[in-house]
Structures are given as structure tokens and as C-alpha cells.
């Protein structure tokens, strides 16, 4: 139960950073916090009490006492895609800084007109 509340708090803190903050790096940190919160929520839905990892490594393991393998497969894909999206976003931030010499989105928006 505490896992659900922890991930809801992470999503709320990340949303605060995306909506309210005006520094570009803080906005990227907020996006990363939202992704981490959602991954934690997905894996904690698939947990079974007194379960074990879904790997048949020894002879005596039965399928009835394992946790759910499907959320783990979905989260694996999501983690890799988040990392590649972050690399592209940081490349954009570096090029924006070279053009405008500031990281503040209020000034970048107002330089348009």
C-alpha cells in the first residue's frame, strides 16, 4: 500500500516541476520523475504476496507461487525508451543554449517577437 502512495507522490512532484518551474533542466528532471513514478506503479500492481521471481532456476519451483511476468516486460521497454528520449532532449537543450545564451523559458518565449 505504501508503494502506491509513494508512486502517486512522485508523479505529483514531477508534475509540479513540469508546470511551475522555468528552468529547462528542472523541466527535464520533472519528466524523468514522472516516468520513474509510473514504472514503480506498474511493477507494484503485479506483486503477489509471498511470491518469488518468475525464473525456473531450480527443480522444485511451481508456477503458482510466482509474481506476474507481464508488467516486468512492459517496464523494461519503457525504461530504455525513456533513456533514449532523454538523450535527444539534452541535445536540444545544449543547442538552444548556444543560440539564445539563456536557459529560462520565459526569456526564450519572449524573444520571438
Amino acid at each position: 500500500m505504501i508503494y502506491y502512495i509513494g508512486s502517486f507522490l512522485l508523479i505529483a512532484i514531477g508534475l509540479y516541476a513540469v508546470v511551475v518551474k522555468s528552468n529547462l533542466i528542472k523541466i527535464l528532471i520533472g519528466l524523468n520523475l514522472i516516468s520513474s513514478g509510473v514504472n514503480l506503479l506498474i511493477i507494484s500492481v503485479g506483486y503477489v504476496k509471498n511470491g518469488t521471481a518468475p525464473i525456473f532456476s531450480k527443480i522444485g519451483l511451481k508456477a503458482a507461487m510466482m509474481v506476474d511476468p507481464i508488467p516486468q516486460a512492459l517496464t523494461l521497454t519503457a525504461i530504455v525508451i525513456d533513456a533514449s528520449e532523454l538523450a535527444l532532449a539534452v541535445a536540444f537543450v545544449v543547442l538552444l543554449y548556444r543560440h539564445y545564451r539563456t536557459l529560462d523559458i520565459k526569456k526564450i518565449r519572449s524573444l520571438k517577437w
Binding site: 512522485l10 511493477i43 507494484s44 517496464t75 525513456d82 539534452v90
Partner: protein, 81 residues
């Protein structure tokens, strides 16, 4: 009643609040790396070793390195209010 997961989740939320409020940007992304590390350990407590290994190697190591290389070429502290 102090369980390991209670202490870790409270520490993770405190680190997340710290990382969006610090003015020094390099310290903020290091705190974000700390959040990824604690989440990787929580995945291990939830019996998911594949995902814990992926989050530790991709989320805590490569993500922090990419952030720091990016922040190094721009400003290092948040200047405004």
C-alpha cells in the same frame, strides 16, 4: 514498526523534493541519480530482478552521465527567482 520499504520510500520522496528545489544544477541531477538508485532497490524488493538491473545500469548510470555532460556545457546554477 520500521520496515525497510517504509524508510526507503520516505527517503525517495524527500530526495525528489530536494532535487527540484536546489539552485546548483549539478547537485540537482545527482539527487535525481539518487532517486533512480533507490527505485532500483525497491524493484528488487518487489521480486523483479530483470527490471532492477535495467534501472540500475540505464537509469542511474547512463542517465546521470548524459545530464552532467549536458549541464556542463550550459549554466551551472539557476539564476533567477
Amino acid at each position: 514498526m520500521i520496515f525497510v520499504s517504509w524508510v526507503l520510500i520516505i527517503l525517495m520522496v524527500v530526495l525528489a523534493i530536494v532535487s527540484i528545489e536546489l539552485k546548483n544544477l549539478i547537485a540537482a541531477v545527482v539527487a535525481m541519480g539518487g532517486v533512480s538508485l533507490i527505485i532500483s532497490f525497491l524493484f528488487l524488493l518487489l521480486q523483479a530482478p530483470d527490471v532492477a538491473m535495467a534501472e540500475a545500469s540505464i537509469g542511474a548510470a547512463l542517465t546521470t552521465a548524459i545530464y552532467i555532460i549536458g549541464v556542463r556545457q550550459t549554466e551551472r546554477s539557476e539564476k533567477n527567482d
